[in-house]
Symmetry: C2
Subunit: 185 residues, 2 copies
Amino acid sequence: MPRTVAERADVIPVLAEIFREHGFEGASLAIIGERTGLGKGSLYHFFPGGKEEMATVVLAEIGAWFEANIYRPLRETAEPRTAVGAMFRSVSAYFYSGRRICLVGSFALDNVRDRFADQIRSYFTAWKASLTDALRRIGHNEPEARDLAEEAVLGIQGALVLARALGDPLVFERAMQRMEQRLIA
Amino acid sequence: MPRTVAERADVIPVLAEIFREHGFEGASLAIIGERTGLGKGSLYHFFPGGKEEMATVVLAEIGAWFEANIYRPLRETAEPRTAVGAMFRSVSAYFYSGRRICLVGSFALDNVRDRFADQIRSYFTAWKASLTDALRRIGHNEPEARDLAEEAVLGIQGALVLARALGDPLVFERAMQRMEQRLIA
DNA sequence: GTCTATATGGAGATAGAC
DNA sequence: GTCTATCTCCATATAGAC
């Protein structure tokens, strides 16, 4: 008999976490079944396209979350200096101060990069663009704003790599501090 | 009959490139056999420990290369300003201006991170330490040197992630320029 | 040292009962 | 919607001839 009646939406955050921890190929259906509490039947009922569809949906949800919580505020908040500070706080919370990796960044380095190339590119393009916009409004000129935005976006990814490699979240926190200083000063 | 008589040392750079392109799990023995021109028999003759041993050996060779070509020059070159400039040129060449990813960084984000944790940590620890040393000798005070070194090491990793995600090597080249400026100025 | 053949396991995915 | 049983494929690894 059925364990419980699940909703597809409830499963997505769990999938995201599994992909972060195990990568795309490492996230076996066995693990996914265990963590979601769903059998293969239910999984394929929700995601007829299998793992590939699961990852696509997860990436879409991540993109939507960043759009709502990071990119839009950067573009639309009246006080851009505040918005940039808020971005660093949101990012720090989102990545658990460097204890959690960026799924999009890890996919970019992974074997699966080509399969999800469009979603990966959009994520970073939108981030760069919205941050550039805020920096422009803070008072930086156009090329300077673009440079600083690129540096910050890449710095966040690098901080996640290094913090994970060294097993030291402080690496991430220090990088956030430095970048915020540089952008807002 | 045997195809050719190979040496283990010749195989290692090929393995490194395969792991970079496909990741650890994605690098199947089929691919490895194809690219090295070796059958499974030869592969297991050279690496009785299988793929895990292959990756360990590859990481060791990468570590040795960086020690000889990056870390030692940073520590020992009489003119540290020159050494830092040389580091950026070597790194840029090594990563093909951002077209090639860092195997160690990609492993750090991957499912296999725990299996190779020691080698991953050493790679970044040694890089940070040797760069800090050079910056110290350039004239930065201790905490400043440490901060700048950490920022540069992490910036290189982030630049590789973003360049790959956007399919744009210029992202990498710009990041190298900015960092060199900041470190040497 | 290299090859081919094979063992064995686990992967993703499907079928159909309930 | 959920389950179990099953299919097929390809993974790593081994054995033993040459």
